[in-house]
């Protein structure tokens, strides 16, 4: 395949992936908007109003970046894991495997679907957040970079989950027992400076902590961790997961007996 043919192929997968989640927007875009609205009402208005400011910000304002990124993480992941596993389950993934598509085009196409859903959901959730608080963006470049890189990272993670998954149960185990706890313990609702020193050190092994803090820096200009370290960690994870995913495709893990 020449470059032009590869671009056509990539565009085909991308459009197919976008249409898939847009077609079922009631299942994919609406729920995170409702969930985040509830978080703002309960944790922001009702409980948050009883709490002191954190780093000079109202509690409501403090949790905005984490809640937006939480939605981005879970939706980017969910999009790829459900789309790719469904394609495996219905065997429609064979349409791509039989074709001369290079593996990296398949991966980029599928991941772009997760990125797109992460971005769409992120924008919707941000609009919801604007009903509860005035969002001031401290650094557009950091905000957008973290937003996009985090979507890519969790799209890749979703792909790996889908590749190994043998049943629909397998695609809910990781989000339920790994992703959600890590996200909640990643500093959405608190600053790790509020934790005892031991638990601060433990929190540092959670990669999601770096993403949420980098995003919080982008929006509010405050962070618990060094921004450079955060970007190095995010980019490192992306590289490792990308090449690992390519390896899975090459070997045919979960795809080729």
């Amino acid at each position: 395949m020449n470059l032009s043919q590869k671009m056509v192929a990539l565009k085909t997968i991308m459009v197919k992936e976008y249409l898939r989640f847009i077609r079922i927007w009631i299942q994919t875009v609406l729920p995170p908007a409702i969930s985040v609205a509830l978080y703002f009402i309960i944790f922001g208005e009702l409980i948050g109003s009883q709490l002191d400011d954190i780093d000079g910000y109202r509690y409501m304002d403090y949790i905005v970046p984490g809640l937006i990124l939480m939605s981005v993480i879970s939706n980017a992941y969910a999009n790829v894991v459900s789309s790719f596993f469904s394609a495996k389950f219905h065997h429609s993934v064979e349409e791509m495997l039989v074709s001369p598509l290079p593996n990296y085009i398949i991966l980029l196409g599928v991941v772009s679907g997760g990125l797109a859903r992460g971005v769409v959901v992120g924008i919707v959730v941000t609009l919801v957040a604007m009903f509860f608080t005035d969002i001031q963006i401290h650094s557009y470049s950091v905000t957008i970079a973290v937003f996009i890189l985090t979507s890519i990272l969790f799209s890749l993670a979703g792909f790996i989950n889908a590749a190994y998954a043998k049943s629909f149960d397998d695609i809910t185990i990781i989000p339920t027992f790994v992703l959600t706890p890590l996200t909640y313990l990643g500093g959405i609702f608190y600053s790790i400076k509020m934790l005892p020193e031991f638990w601060q050190d433990v929190s540092l092994v959670n990669p999601i902590l770096y993403m949420i803090n980098a995003f919080r820096y982008g929006l509010l200009g405050i962070t618990d961790i060094d921004l450079t370290i955060a970007f190095v960690i995010i980019l490192s994870f992306i590289l490792v997961l990308f090449f690992f995913s390519l390896r899975l495709l090459r070997i045919g893990v979960g795809l080729k007996p």
Binding site: S4, Q5, K11, E94, E95, L97, S99, P100, L101
Partner: protein, 323 residues
Amino acid sequence: MTNLNALTIKNLHKTYKNGVEALKGVDLTVEQGDFFALLGPNGAGKSTVIGIIASLVNKTSGFVEIFGHNLDTRSTDARMHIGLVPQEFNFNIFEPVGEILINQAGYYGINRTEAKKRAEVHLKQLELWDKRFGMAKELSGGMKRRLMIARALMHRPKLLILDEPTAGVDIEIRHSMWDFLREQNANGTTIILTTHYLEEAESLCNNIAIIDRGVTIRQTRMRSLLDQLHIETFILYLDDAIDTLPDCGGHMVRMIDSTTLEVEINREQNISDLFSLLKNCGIKVVSMKNKTNRLEQLFISMLRNKNGATEASSTALPEAIVK
């Protein structure tokens, strides 16, 4: 111009992770432009062979070459030439019919404008044009099979592989699919067909390979294989009822009922002679058919011999077939 084979397979082995040895050294050669039958009983390894050719199954060892492109070293070039119609439906049933074809073309780098044109041609050829906007789940079984054929043709493959394409399809559609496949073959597409309808293979294919328990037990021309039948059994339907059987001059004839005869013809005999004898006795034959499909007779006998069965059918077991 080099006369490349469409497909060359040498010593192909496949052992699945559960230890099942599906292929134990399959060899196949399919010439360009051929209409080739790949036959074998359930579990023989046909679908595994096809899966390996189509890059859906990893081989354990062996050599596969498609139009001169080694599947190991030039996989992309090799896959560019293949169109696959698998045994199981493998499209997203929640996608519109037309989109399935257009997307498939996209995977081969064909732009959307061209893909739409080709989709129209193939959907019309396969009588699915009216269904183009409908979801694939709304199609009948026969329509779904035709959709997979249309999809496989979108990138104009030089080698079309059909794994039981007419399974579960009614007789009328099956025959229209045969005509369509003959037309594709006449236009230069090499076709490999697996089927359990042996009359389908006999009717369509020029060459044949039979695999059983993971090995090729025979590859030959269809004609020469059928020529090896020593005896064929025909059923004759008579115009008027008869009470007794006349003298049939050495032909093995028996009455099934008053208007139906069963006759065995060996290679030295001519059925026209029998018709003449019957006509002289005032018996008119209005129609006839093979009692069983000729290829089916051979197929069963070959498998029996391969598997060491002691009981061999004398009517259908030419020694020449048994290696």
